[in-house]
């Protein structure tokens, strides 16, 4: 164990102040916190809770229904980040649609979907554009490339989301946030600083190694002890105040803000991104005159409460019984970054 980790550990385990709640907003942080066993270090007066930062988890049920509709009714080849395949829709997941004959391909990058469209000019290809500022630029790049090349068999089903407005919706759920380093690397720190200045919301930006995550947590605890609202960038090697200007420019060129539905949080105004009018031909909903599809989540599933830190996965009565990683009922059990999946996989010992 290196000196930095040791010092951070001492701060965390030695905390004797008032009870505090710290929310990690990012799914990758959720996973790393479990993998590293950080919760086992926490004294009783520190609670670390998971927020809505896993893109798969916050994707609304209706979105999966829309994707299944495109796959089954319009015979589109659906290209998606792999995790989304198992997320339950109202009637079925994309895996279920695949069993009914739909073509569903996992891809690593939206540009792979563009390539697939080029290779299959007689097929229609749809990329499922989900995720935060970290993945949105690559979806924009795909749309831009498709337009430049005049591709007519490629479109995007967008459900991209932006973090800053979600933070607003989460104010009050925790004493401090651990902000996702890779999101801030794109957006910069202005929104977080503004939250601190105007609403007194505290937070630290954290990286993803054991060192970076543990130090950010220790810094948050130290600053919470002082009692003043704070914002601290603990990931300066990657996150600059101004963010990634070329990614921001690209997103602004191709997409614009819109209202967006978050699983569990409902519709948050201007928290989503959709294609601009010049790219309407690449918007699957417009291209296929999609009817309004409203999803109905399984009423037994408490993913919504989990995503807001209102309950722990183990408080949900289907957790670990009918809802497991092999047979997920809710989205949070699907992705490795989902709180329910992490609780399930790392539960049951020491």
């Amino acid at each position: 164990m290196n000196e930095q980790i040791k010092a951070a550990r001492d701060i965390i385990t030695g905390y004797k102040g008032r009870p505090i709640r710290i929310m990690e907003v990012c799914g990758t942080h959720t996973h790393e916190i479990f993998r590293l066993g950080i919760r086992k270090l926490l004294p009783e007066n520190i609670d670390v809770i998971s927020g809505p930062g896993c893109p798969v988890c916050v994707t609304a049920v209706g979105y999966i229904d829309e994707a299944c509709w495109l796959a089954l009714e319009k015979n589109c080849i659906i290209c998606t980040f792999g995790d989304l395949i198992k997320v339950p829709g109202t009637e079925m997941s994309l895996a279920g649609a695949r069993a009914k004959g739909a073509q569903v391909r996992p891809v690593y990058s939206p540009l792979d979907a563009v390539e697939l469209a080029k290779e299959n000019p007689d097929k229609q290809v749809v990329f499922l554009a989900v995720g935060f500022e970290t993945t949105t630029p690559s979806a924009c790049l795909a749309a831009k490339q498709a337009k430049e090349e005049g591709l007519e068999n490629f479109s995007l089903l967008t459900a991209n989301k932006t973090m800053p407005n979600a933070y607003n919706a989460l104010v009050g759920s925790a004493d401090a946030f651990i902000y996702p380093g890779h999101v801030n690397a794109i957006t910069g720190n202005a929104a977080c600083k503004k939250l601190c200045e105007e609403k007194g919301v505290s937070g630290v930006v954290a990286g993803f190694t054991a060192n970076e995550l543990l130090i950010a947590l220790a810094v948050a605890i130290k600053l919470l002890e002082k009692g003043e609202p704070f914002f601290k960038n603990c990931y300066p090697r990657v996150v600059k105040d101004e963010g990634n200007l070329s990614a921001i420019k690209l997103m602004d060129e191709v997409m614009e803000p819109c209202d967006s539905e978050w699983r569990g949080l409902g519709v948050i105004p201007m928290s989503g991104m959709k294609l601009r009018e010049e790219y309407a031909g690449y918007d699957s909903r417009i291209k296929y005159s999609m009817p309004e599809i409203k999803g109905r989540p399984n009423p037994a599933c408490r993913c919504g409460d989990v995503l807001q830190g209102k309950c722990k996965p183990s408080d949900c009565k289907v957790f670990g019984k009918v809802c497991t990683p092999l047979h997920p009922v809710g989205a949070c059990m699907v992705s490795d970054e989902g709180a329910c999946s992490a609780y399930y996989q790392y539960s049951g010992i020491i």
């Binding site: 164990m1 980790i5 550990r9 479990f34 993998r35 590293l36 066993g37 950080i38 086992k40 270090l41 996992p106 891809v107 690593y108 990058s109 540009l111 792979d112 054991a210 543990l214 990683p325 092999l326 490795d336 996989q345 790392y346 539960s347 049951g348 010992i349 020491i350």
Partner: protein, 335 residues
């Protein structure tokens, strides 16, 4: 159909079948025991015998560091070796898709010859079937092997004991990672190569140090993580790993980081997991590090009385967490 591909006639049992056997298989597998009759008759072996079989359907059939032919020899040789048995004789059955390139088949047979020679095993009988286009994907191979169990060797997944050290003979997950990239589905380029290797030499080098070895298991499909869970269950013990001691190639680390995979669950085809009394562990590792296929051998953990049936990870921040078990299908058809 081109004359340079396998046709249904090659599998019909007539002249073309014997031509195929002569030109491809006999040319490469020739040895005194290789039979043209219905069964090979083997000299008497004066020891306990180990006997095993394995099927190989890897896709793609050729990858960086090997091909399905090499894999089909290594798989069976390594299964025998894990039981402390010197591989002696093998048979191989081919199911070949109509239209498969004969030069490719030749390449596969050549790899089998080379690997069998290295492992000191003789291929003594075989079978060839040709399936119609689309009925199989390229070529499927089944190999069966007999080995001579060495005096004093007694290994089994049931024999892990609290206090045993857990050793791996090299970095983990390279074969699985190689196949993943060979499928070209992720647009990631890397020169990572399969660890596929015949390991009788590795096992016999351990026996030069001691035969007091409790478990030897080759970590194939499911990787080292799956093997550890199997042994924890079979021996009714707990296993605690030191995260920082597990050897992982930097390229594999990079790919796993990008794709969110755990290297412990990626397949190996040339790595053994060994459980031995702790007092012999250092000596075993020292010896292994002299070997061609085990230069990065390391002690990665220990067996415990508690946490029965579980694999616990000691993390780099000094906490203990459970090693999560994989969820369903990670990679289809890797071996």
């Amino acid at each position: 159909m081109s004359s340079n591909t396998v046709t249904l006639a090659h599998g019909a049992g007539g002249k073309q079948t014997s031509d195929l056997i002569d030109k491809v298989f006999k040319a490469h597998f020739s040895n005194p025991e290789f039979t043209a009759d219905d069964a090979a008759v083997l000299p008497k072996i004066d020891s306990k015998l180990a006997f095993t079989t394995d099927g190989f359907i890897v896709s793609p059939w050729k990858f960086n560091g090997g091909n399905i032919g090499k894999l089909s020899i290594c798989g069976t040789v390594n299964d025998l070796s894990c039981m402390g048995a010197k591989p002696m004789y093998m048979t191989c059955g081919f199911v070949i898709e109509e239209g498969f390139d004969l030069d490719d088949l030749e390449q596969i047979a050549a790899a089998m010859e080379k690997t069998a020679a290295e492992a000191g095993v003789k291929i003594v009988a075989g079978d060839t079937k040709v399936a119609g286009k689309g009925q199989v994907d390229g070529v499927f191979i089944t190999t069966t092997g007999i080995g001579s169990v060495q005096e004093g060797a007694d290994t089994s997944g049931k024999y892990a004991r609290p206090g045993d050290a857990v050793i791996v003979t090299g970095d983990v997950g390279r074969h699985g990672c190689t196949i993943l990239l060979a499928r070209d589905e992720f647009g990631i380029e890397s020169d990572v190569d399969s660890d596929c290797a015949p390991l009788w030499g590795t096992v016999s080098s351990i026996f030069e140090v001691t035969k007091d070895v409790h478990v030897i298991r080759d970590a194939t499909r499911g990787g080292v993580g799956t093997v550890l869970y199997e042994i924890a269950e079979q021996s009714d013990v707990g296993i605690t790993l030191d995260q920082t001691a597990i050897p992982v190639d930097d390229r594999v680390k990079g790919v796993c980081g990008m794709l969110g995979l755990e290297p412990l669950y990626l397949a190996c085809e040339g790595r053994l997991v060994i459980f031995a009394p702790a007092e012999n562990a250092e000596k075993i590792v020292e010896k292994l590090r002299e070997g061609k296929y085990s230069k990065n051998a390391a002690i990665i953990g220990r067996v415990t009385e508690d946490n029965k049936g579980k694999v616990i990870m000691e993390t780099e921040i000094g906490t203990q967490t459970i090693l999560p078990q994989p969820k369903g299908e990670l990679l289809p058809r890797i071996c």
